[in-house]
Symmetry: C2
Subunit: 617 residues, 2 copies
């Protein structure tokens, strides 16, 4: 993963707005590639339903209306998140605002929905990337799941190498995509000016025909178009990855993102509108547009191919937004005790390595469980996006009302409008897509909130239980005894004895004699005692006999009955153990040492350690 980075190098690996665009915006920008299509999808259904009316040919004006509303919403969110970033420069976004301004459960619910969104982003983006390549390379088409896994792991590795590194990798893809769409828009305008006849504006008759489409369908279209606003939240979660002044840079990135997103979205939607392009499940609108504007021959064809490849890339690296935002969110949560401590700190490359690996793990589980057919989870997205927005704006309202700074009323009204709009959208989404999968949110989110609360409770209890009263003096040193059980006098046991004598205060050696016949037991006792005499170690040897030939049990009884004077927590057993060199040699030994350890560890108070003696051959 590259050389470890020092803590003080943190400032050097931070990024600016330029690279920030590469790591945080792909999720939002890639929505341009499908948001218009998804709105058109609803309209296409409607056109088919009312196809008896011959004059229903171009209803794209409605998708343009949807685009405008979504762009307006994006700007509203920009203002909201600008405030959040200013107020929470350490990141955390909707979670931080929820926890601090609204209360624990509001914050946790925002965090849960965000996590759902992030996890899905990874799974869905990678699947979209693989789906896009599959038709071209049959081998990938036959091993989709495998390539999903490989791609996810690749993105994980890039991220584990550090934020700066991952930004460098993704920068070209992002800017090529932005450049392509802008080029498309410019070319469309030029072409429109040169050949005004090819423009096919929506007719009033067409618009009139679908006027009766009803609020429900329109909202469904709108909700579909909104599904990719998650990217905006990600910026507010990862403010500290920017160079100082990080809050300012984050806000600047947010503005750049919203403007770019709006521009691209307008280009795609309006080109589709003025040329009366229709939704086609096999050819995305972007491809239709590039074929129309650039043609299907020569340099035009190359342009079309470039656009479709860059679209594919941006769809895939959308996953990266989650890899930047989610571990940062988890770290914020871990700081408050709602997530395991191991996601709190940064790894050797100054990114939240554990969080990144954990996110990969979850999204791989999702991918494998749903066999890379993650499309079915898409409805969960929308609910989570809007819920998060609602929470953050609600938090802003509460805060403004509490603080009552200058222009508080205006600010409160602005945020309250946001609450109503996004809250409404959330409700609509929840209702219209309830049966499609949004209901899962009502199971996942409460379950996650419960888990987070239990985790916090555990950490609080732990802190209490481990708290040491510093006014109480440490216990004075008590008597202690160290037992070295030996089977015979050999290099391994002597090295253990030497170690024990050098390190421990009070050492005795113990040997347990157990043989099939009493005769042999006596012989062995005499032999070991004679050898012990010769060794002249200065250590007392206790010879025990086990009538039941169970070394561990006999030793335990010795400890229990004959070492009663010692406090049980100060009894240590030091086991000599020779380590064989080849695997099959292990099968040839009694493992008395290991069995002994297991025996003694059952008795909670006896400490056991081994002194390994490594065999040469």
């Amino acid at each position: 993963m590259g050389r470890p980075l020092k803590t003080k190098e943190d400032l050097h690996v931070r990024i600016g707005v330029l690279k920030g665009m590469a790591v945080m915006t792909p999720d939002a920008l890639s929505s341009v590639a499908y948001a218009t299509d998804q709105m058109e999808d609803i309209l296409a259904g409607l056109i088919i339903a009312t196809s008896t009316h011959a004059y229903v040919t171009n209803v794209l004006g409605f998708s343009m209306l949807g685009t405008s509303i979504i762009v307006g919403l994006a700007f509203l969110l920009f203002f909201a998140y600008r405030n959040i970033i200013r107020r929470y420069p350490l990141g955390g976004g909707a979670y931080a605002i929820g926890i601090n301004d609204l209360g624990k459960y509001w914050g946790l619910s925002a965090a849960s929905t965000l996590i759902v969104g992030y996890t899905l982003t990874v799974a869905v983006s990678v699947a979209a990337g693989v789906d896009a390549i599959a038709p071209v390379i049959p081998f990938i088409a036959h091993h989709k799941l495998l390539f999903n896994i490989i791609l996810t792991l690749l993105i994980m590795i890039v991220n584990l190498r550090g934020t700066g590194e991952s930004a460098s990798v993704f920068v070209p893809f992002t800017y090529v995509f932005i450049g392509c769409i802008i080029l498309l828009g410019v070319s469309a305008v030029i072409k429109g000016l040169l050949h005004p006849t090819i423009i096919e504006l929506p007719t009033y008759a067409g618009m009139h025909a679908v006027q009766g489409m009803g609020m429900f369908l329109f909202l469904k279209m709108f909700a579909n178009g909104c599904s990719a606003l998650t990217g905006i939240e990600a910026v507010s979660n990862s403010v500290p990855v920017f160079r100082e002044p990080s809050a300012k840079r984050a806000q600047r990135l947010l503005l750049t993102l919203v403007i770019t997103l709006s521009l691209l979205f307008f280009i795609v939607s309006s080109v589709a509108m003025v040329h009366g392009l229709r939704y086609n499940p096999d050819v995305p609108l972007i491809n239709q547009e590039s074929m129309l504007i650039f043609g299907t021959h020569g340099i035009g064809y190359i342009m079309t191919v470039i656009i479709s490849i860059s679209t594919m890339c941006i769809l895939t690296i959308a996953a990266n937004t989650a890899f930047t935002g989610c571990p940062a969110l988890w770290s914020s949560m871990a700081r408050d005790g709602f997530m395991p401590r191991w996601v709190l700190h940064k790894g050797t490359r100054l990114v939240y390595s554990n969080g990144i690996v954990f996110l990969t793990f979850i999204s791989l589980v999702l991918t494998i469980c749903f066999d890379a057919q993650v499309d079915r989870l898409m409805p969960l997205y929308g609910v989570s996006v809007f819920y998060t927005f609602t929470i953050s704006q609600l938090g802003m309202v509460v805060r403004v009302l509490k603080e009552r700074k200058t222009k508080w009323l205006l600010s409160a009204i602005g945020s309250a409008t946001g609450v109503v709009l996004t809250g409404g959208a959330c409700l609509i989404f929840g209702i219209t897509r309830f049966r499609d999968g949004a209901w899962l949110v009502f199971i996942c989110v409460p379950a996650m909130i419960l888990a987070f609360s239990r985790i916090q409770k555990h950490y609080m209890q732990l802190r209490q239980d481990l708290k040491y009263d510093l006014t109480r003096p440490m216990q004075p040193r008590k008597e202690s005894i160290t037992i070295v059980p030996i089977a015979s006098i050999n290099k391994s046991s002597v090295s253990a004895l030497e170690y024990a004598v050098a390190n421990f205060r009070n050492v005795i050696a113990v040997t347990v004699i157990a043989d099939d016949s009493e005769e042999k037991c006596r012989q062995r006792t005499d032999k070991i005692e004679a050898e012990w005499e010769k060794l002249n170690s200065g250590i007392r040897l206790v010879v025990l006999h086990s009538q039941y030939r169970a070394v561990g049990k006999r030793l335990q009884r010795f400890i229990e009955f004959e070492l009663q004077t010692y406090p049980p927590e100060n009894i240590t057993v030091v086991i000599p153990q020779f380590i064989t060199k080849r695997w099959w040699h292990k099968l040839l030994h009694n493992k008395t040492g290991n069995i002994l350890m297991a025996w003694l560890v059952i008795n909670k108070h006896i400490k056991v350690m081994t002194v390994p003696y490594h065999l040469e051959r």
Copy 2:
């Protein structure tokens, strides 16, 4: 498995001839149930082949001839093994005689073939038992493999409970079977005397017809009939399980076995002969005979059922012969270093528990690999039986020639005849059944011999490598240091410090500070130093800073560079570790302690131990 037994209780759990019959003879006796059938099988094939000759009706005389030869062989073996038992009262049979009188590889080859035979005995006997019950209970027929496993485990458990116990369990089955066959013989004689007309002796014409069967077929028939002589070897392997004088008792048992075996074998073969019964794969000869003699109604029918049930039982408990013989053989081999040490000693119930479990394991592997279709391995049997006999008699010849006691020439000639007979049989068996599976012996046995030799080599090397030169004094006590790494001052770390101070000679505490920012590092350093002051432990605290946020690495560097004055083998790390109460709590902790242990264990010389602190909730 019952209460543990003391070593001196060994004499009480030994058995006499009566119980010995139950644990060691079922394998040999059960052969009565199929040996005649197997000989008839060959003849039946011949009859079909020559069925154009109308007068070929009763060729059972040939099977009677085979029976006589086999019985003769059994008596020959009795004399051979009587000598072996006298000479090797500690057991070991052909293996012991091979190792001591002929040489290492002779002994090991005998042991290998014996082990092949014993393992097959278990697998084949259990499979035969299950096959016998299967037609009656459909559930068993559908789960044969499962019941094979259950039955094997049952026999294992009975054996683990001790020799005396297993004998008690199997006594009734053995004696009921013997009683049944004798009753059958007596009834047949009575019936024959009362109704001489039913007797249908083989005609000369019939015998003449198959005279051309050729040596090859006859020998094949003979070899088939011999397949169950393994039981005789088992007695010589387990001499020490008998009450004193054990050798005498073992010899007496051997005689009883050979006489009983001959009697039963003659009864079954001759009843079949005088009534002209034919081989029928669906109805064994014993069942045909009991139906003929006792009839198929009323009390006669009950008799038939009893005979078939007891046959079934004896076939199954034949496995027990292996459970008595094989672990004893392994123990003898382990004494010489050819088997892992853990099969050497007896367990708490004074049987070779590890050997019993190991035998069960191997035969279960065989059963599962061959899906309870072990019949295909039957040819291996014959080769192994005769090879073992040959080795043991060859050993006797060599020994007699060496010692030249009284009547040595006669004894040598007797044994040499045995060598020629059994060696010939072995050769015949190997050739006639080579393609049926006997070739496997030529792979298994050399592989096993190689394995045994490598095991012995390892033990010899180990003894050399571990040998401690007692004339060399033990190293004088060197300097040592014990490090207690702590993350903060809490009950867990204080209890580890208290333990370390009480037990070890020289203790220091170390804390590694690593945080995301330098500011925080400084705060934490000040905090822990202030708290340490208050604790007043008398231990030196070393505060380390890790720029790379890697606690393990930093600690290792500290040990390597700052503790150079201490001999590396006398550095101990005592890690405080709190043990959580619920499984999911484990997921919430950094496991720094465990990671640290892994880190330090990589460095071979640093000893690591943990001091657990058990959380209450």
